[in-house]
């Protein structure tokens, strides 16, 4: 018998299986097709705004996505490098062949992990407890815990023009019954939709009509443990092109042939707001003369180019016209047409913060089945589900990351508290404490958690301890170090158009000035610390006011997080709560007052009534 079964081999499934097996639990990863493990069925990049920070967080906690990406990417860059440190985020162009291959190497190296093929169509359930899975041929496999990471495969339908075909990405067979079974067990199921653009043969694109988008000329890694595994000059560029007036005309004239615009009349799925199809863009933003398209390589090993920004559900013959209207694509060969895909997800307010479901004990879910979109969003949930499934087996409290600790915490709290309207994507703007949740400090925020749950080893944690110590020392050093305004110093300041200091200031004070960097000061005095430490010190001193403000705000929230709401509370007994709020509270069943406040439809007056009730009924302190 297995301790943990992970259903699905996508980015969530890989992280979940890895975490569980690495923590020493006998784990089975079951997938419908082993060849598709760690597949990237949509865009080929990993990271991006906010998402890149999540990959860093996964690495800090002991997950694997960052390391696998570091070893295999085609190019990497730091987004927003001209902006403040809080919004900088890594983005790599993944290799769709090398990435899954490297992931398989990692998984195969795990002693406690077994991988097999099989289509799961039901769960073994007794007394609202999950005890294993049932395959389509009726085979039963028992386990103490099941983690569902089924991606888009629940009742997946591919939509192209006026056709609807029951299949997953790559024409794979989907799971036809699992979502119905879940419904029977009491889950609310929501239908979602997403789409993907065409793949174009690299050899048929005239790149001279496009703009080159290279990787950064500075070495970068997602992982806190790896040295760069690539050469800057070997990076493969992306390219940029634009739609034309002709493209828009073709789309407008053929609009009724698009699945989404009437060719299919049975679409229930709700598509992502942030990811509209090209039809949507042309219709909704009709005043725009052109739309940007990115041409992204999918792999070093084959010729498919991903046409980001051109996602569509038009029939193939219209897609041909559309693609050929693009500059550089006059003779382009389409290797794979764009399509939309509809699939079932469970409504995520049915989850606890540990990602265990409230409906069935010992069942955890992660990734697109929870209504999210994106590889990184899936991977981090998989990691947390894997960790918390293991902790449950070990009889320990779950690891719940708070909103001021990690984007992962923001994502899971949003899911279980606010639910979803459309596939959920992480955005910088969702994090109220984004200044604390930076790419550069993910290890400082999370490594210790990773160590406590057993995914980070002694050597890694010692490195972290040393880093923390060095930062403190460097801060003290900067406080002591003074800059005398000599003629030479004065000249340098003037040369850079900086106002010359009127007295002798400490490095700490000088770094507080927006224009003065460590690099500038090092002309006069070298900092006896490495780059990583200098970066932390500079960020802290430069944005101290803002950072301290964020800490204060976070503290306020944490105070409310401490106000627990008993699990057995009966909201029907709380008088005078507005009926919409009552319904929402019953649905979400928040565990703290802070969480209750975040529920949309619950107003401050409801919160005060709830607080009074808790005090009266449970003697809880305000």
């Amino acid at each position: 018998m297995y301790e943990i079964i992970v259903v699905g081999g996508g980015h969530a499934g890989c992280e979940a299986a890895h975490a569980a097996a690495k923590k020493g639990h006998k784990t089975l990863l079951i997938t419908s097709n082993i060849k598709n493990i760690a597949d990237m069925p949509c865009n080929p990049h990993i990271g991006g705004s906010a998402k890149g920070i999540v990959v860093r967080e996964i690495d800090a906690l002991g997950g694997i996505m960052g390391k696998v990406a570091d070893k295999t990417h085609l190019q990497i860059k730091m987004l927003n490098s001209a902006k403040g440190p809080a919004v900088q985020s890594l983005r790599a162009q993944g290799d769709k062949i090398a990435y899954p291959k490297e992931m398989m190497n990692v998984l195969n190296s795990l002693e406690n992990l077994e991988i097999r093929e099989g289509m799961v169509e039901d769960l073994i359930v007794e007394d609202n407890k999950v005890k294993g899975i049932i395959l389509e041929d009726g085979e039963r496999i028992e386990s103490k815990i099941v983690v569902l990471t089924t991606g888009t495969y629940l009742k997946a339908d591919i939509l192209v023009g006026n056709t609807r075909t029951r299949q997953g990405p790559h024409g794979e067979k989907p799971s036809n019954h699992l979502s119905d079974k879940l419904k029977e067990y009491g889950f609310t199921i929501k239908r979602l939709k997403t789409g993907t653009p065409q793949r174009i043969d690299r050899k048929t694109i005239d790149f001279s009509k496009t703009r080159v988008e290279p990787g950064d000329d500075k070495y970068l890694t997602f992982s806190f443990d790896l040295e760069p595994q690539y050469k800057i000059e070997d990076q493969i560029p992306c390219h940029l092109t634009y739609t034309t007036e002709e493209t828009h005309r073709i789309i407008r004239e053929n609009l009724n042939k698009s699945s989404m615009y009437g060719a299919l009349d049975d679409i229930e799925g709700i598509g992502p707001r942030y990811c509209p199809s090209i039809e949507d863009k042309v219709v909704r933003f009709s005043d725009k003369e052109r739309h940007q398209l990115f041409i992204e390589p999918e792999s070093r090993y084959y010729d498919d180019m991903y046409l980001q920004g051109f996602s569509t559900s038009m029939p193939p013959e219209v897609q041909e016209l559309m693609v050929h209207s693009l500059p550089g694509f006059e003779h382009a060969k389409i290797l794979k047409y764009g399509y939309a895909i509809e699939y079932d997800a469970i409504y995520p307010t049915q989850l606890k913060a540990s990602l265990e479901t409230k409906v069935l004990e010992n069942l955890f879910t992660a990734g697109q089945i929870n209504g999210t979109s994106g590889y990184e969003e899936a991977a981090c949930q998989g990691l947390m589900a894997g960790i918390n499934a293991s902790l449950k087996l070990e009889g320990k409290e779950p690891l719940v990351l708070k909103r001021n600790e990690a984007y992962i915490g923001v994502l899971i709290d949003d899911l279980i508290t606010k639910g979803i309207r459309d596939p959920y994507r992480l955005l910088t703007s969702r994090a109220e404490f984004r200044l604390l949740l930076r790419s550069d400090n993910a290890d400082l925020r999370l490594r210790r958690h990773g160590y406590e749950v057993g995914l980070i080893n002694e050597e890694q944690i010692e490195r972290l301890n040393k880093k923390e110590k060095d930062i403190q020392e460097c801060l003290e050093w900067a406080r002591e170090q003074k800059l005398k305004v000599t003629e030479e110093v004065k000249k340098e300041f003037q040369k850079n158009h900086f106002s010359v200091p009127t007295a002798t200031f400490s490095f700490e004070q000088l770094l507080g000035r927006p224009e003065i960097t460590v690099e500038f000061l090092e002309q006069f005095q070298t900092f006896p610390y490495n780059q990583e430490i200098k970066e932390q010190v500079e960020i802290y001193l430069k944005y101290k006011g803002y950072i301290e403000k964020s800490y204060k705000e976070a503290e306020k929230m944490l105070k409310l997080e401490k106000k627990q709401i008993p699990e057995d509370i009966d909201y029907d007994k709380v008088n005078n709560i507005a009926s919409e709020a009552r319904q929402k509270l019953k649905e979400v069943r928040p565990t703290t007052i802070a969480q209750a406040i975040r529920i949309s439809g619950v107003n401050p007056s409801d919160i005060s009534i709830l607080s009074v009730y808790l005090k009266k009924e449970y003697g809880k302190d305000e």
């Binding site: 906010a50 507005a578 107003n603």
Partner: protein, 453 residues
């Protein structure tokens, strides 16, 4: 909050009718027990029913009873209103009967509190209702009405919608850095936008100061040496408007000597250590205390005697008066001029010659006050400003933050840092009418900008 409350809803005293309001789960049952007429538990909601209030067999009053069932009532609870024939005795008798049958007397503001707690009205509205109940002038009533109707909310919402556009644009720049067809908000672009926001907030604050004036009146003190005619002035001002001369406690520790209504604005004459009794304020309380009173007043009526030279202590006070709202009144112009007006180092426009004994100059004084506080302008437009202390203090905090943003822009802080400050203000403003909501921002982002894979 499960008990049923009752109170006389109209002002106490002799009126044509009086209304007693009952609210709570048992409201209908309780009134039904003392009502002779239709069975109130069976009548339609929002109906008016004729009958009698009875105490056993004794008929107390002929009444009309409105029955309104939850939730479409003021408190969102079952509510009954009994219209009686005014008069203190019968009204009190009805109230007593209600209390005997299970009601409890409502605390001041409790109906509104219930409406708020039951989610019927938001905080701003609740505050406005309380203001309405206390309204003494037509302007106060109008302002309270406007807040209930959400006009103030609209003002705040306008401000917030300006901000959310900036915020969402910056957020799109952050989250979609590779899209070159989205406007890039830079510090340079932001400077004039922030200046505009600052102006708007300042304007609301300025008007809110007026609002405060409408609501709380103008705290007015009369300063002057003994026998200069302070009490005569007070009497002369109060003369025409005897009806509202009352000895009521003011909002703070001041004793309001009397209230004068000038074009709908109340002048609260504060009794500076009993002007009328001692009539020698400066001697009695000294220069220092006089200064303190001047400091705390919205309007200083500084009285001098035409028949006297200016003394040193008066000079000392006058030196400190600049920058305040003051009017210099030179009284006793019917007597020989001994004062040297050239010694007065004050705005000559603010000097008025009086002769209270001859009744001269009072009208001029009133006009000057109207001019000084721009009361005419207030009168002619809708008073839509914030009038409660909580909202004003939030707005002031926002103004301070805006000034910090200007500083940060000057210092070339990265735009995403500045966005944090703007978002903070946006959220603070939302607290005024309770509309802080993240989803609002996301909607703005995705409806205005064209993004996607």
């Amino acid at each position: 909050m499960n008990d049923t409350i009752c109170a006389i809803a109209t002002s106490q005293g002799v009126g044509a009718i009086a209304i007693i309001r009952v609210s709570g789960e048992e409201a209908i049952n309780i009134v039904n027990k003392i009502f002779k007429g239709k069975d109130l538990t069976k009548v339609e909601s929002h109906s008016i029913n004729y009958g009698h209030i009875v105490d056993g067999n004794e008929q107390i009053d002929e009444v009309l009873v409105s029955v309104m069932r939850s939730p479409r009532t003021y408190t969102a609870e079952d509510t009954v209103e009994i219209n009686t024939h005014g008069g203190i005795a019968p009204t009190n008798k009805v109230l007593e009967l209600l209390l005997e049958n299970g009601c409890r007397i409502a605390e001041p503001g409790e109906f509104t509190k219930r409406a708020f707690l039951n989610g019927r009205i938001d905080l701003l509205e609740a505050e406005a209702v309380m203001d309405m109940i206390d309204a003494k002038t037509e302007n106060q009533r109008k302002m309270a009405l406007n807040q209930i109707g959400g006009k103030t909310s609209q003002l705040i919402n306008e401000l917030r919608s300006d901000m959310v556009q900036i915020i969402s644009n910056i957020n799109v720049n952050i989250d979609y850095p590779e899209y070159d067809d989205v406007d890039i908000i830079t510090n340079e672009i932001l400077v004039p936008k922030i200046a505009k926001l600052k102006d708007k907030i300042k304007k609301i604050l300025k008007e809110s100061e007026n609002g405060k004036m409408i609501k709380n009146g103008i705290k007015t003190s009369i300063i002057g040496r003994p026998n200069v005619g302070k009490s005569s002035l007070l009497n002369a001002l109060l003369e025409e408007d005897k009806a509202i001369v009352t000895d009521i406690a003011g909002t703070t520790r001041d004793i309001v000597e009397g209230q004068i209504n000038i074009n709908g604005i109340l002048l609260n004459m504060i009794d500076t250590a009993g002007i009328r009794k001692t009539d020698d304020i400066i001697e009695a309380i000294g220069v220092e205390k006089s200064l303190k009173i001047m400091e705390e007043s919205d309007l200083i009526l500084f009285m001098l005697n035409n028949n006297e030279t200016i003394t040193e202590d008066i000079k000392e006070l006058l030196d400190k008066i600049e920058g305040k709202n003051y009017i210099i009144l030179i009284n006793k112009n019917d007597l020989e001029t001994k004062i040297n007006r050239n010694e007065l180092n004050v705005d000559k426009n603010r000097i008025i010659n009086l002769s209270i004994t001859e009744g001269k100059g009072i009208e001029e004084l009133k006009n000057k006050i109207i001019e000084l506080f721009n009361i005419e302008a207030i009168e002619t437009k809708d008073p839509t400003y914030l009038s409660n202390a909580r909202s004003i203090s939030i707005l002031k905090r926002c103004l301070k933050r805006i000034e910090e943003i200007e500083q940060s822009l000057n210092n070339n802080m990265p735009i995403d840092m500045i966005e944090l400050d703007i978002k903070n203000i946006w959220e603070e403003l939302g607290k005024i009418n309770g509309s802080s909501y993240e989803e609002e921002l996301l909607d703005e982002m995705f409806s205005r900008f064209c993004l996607g894979k």
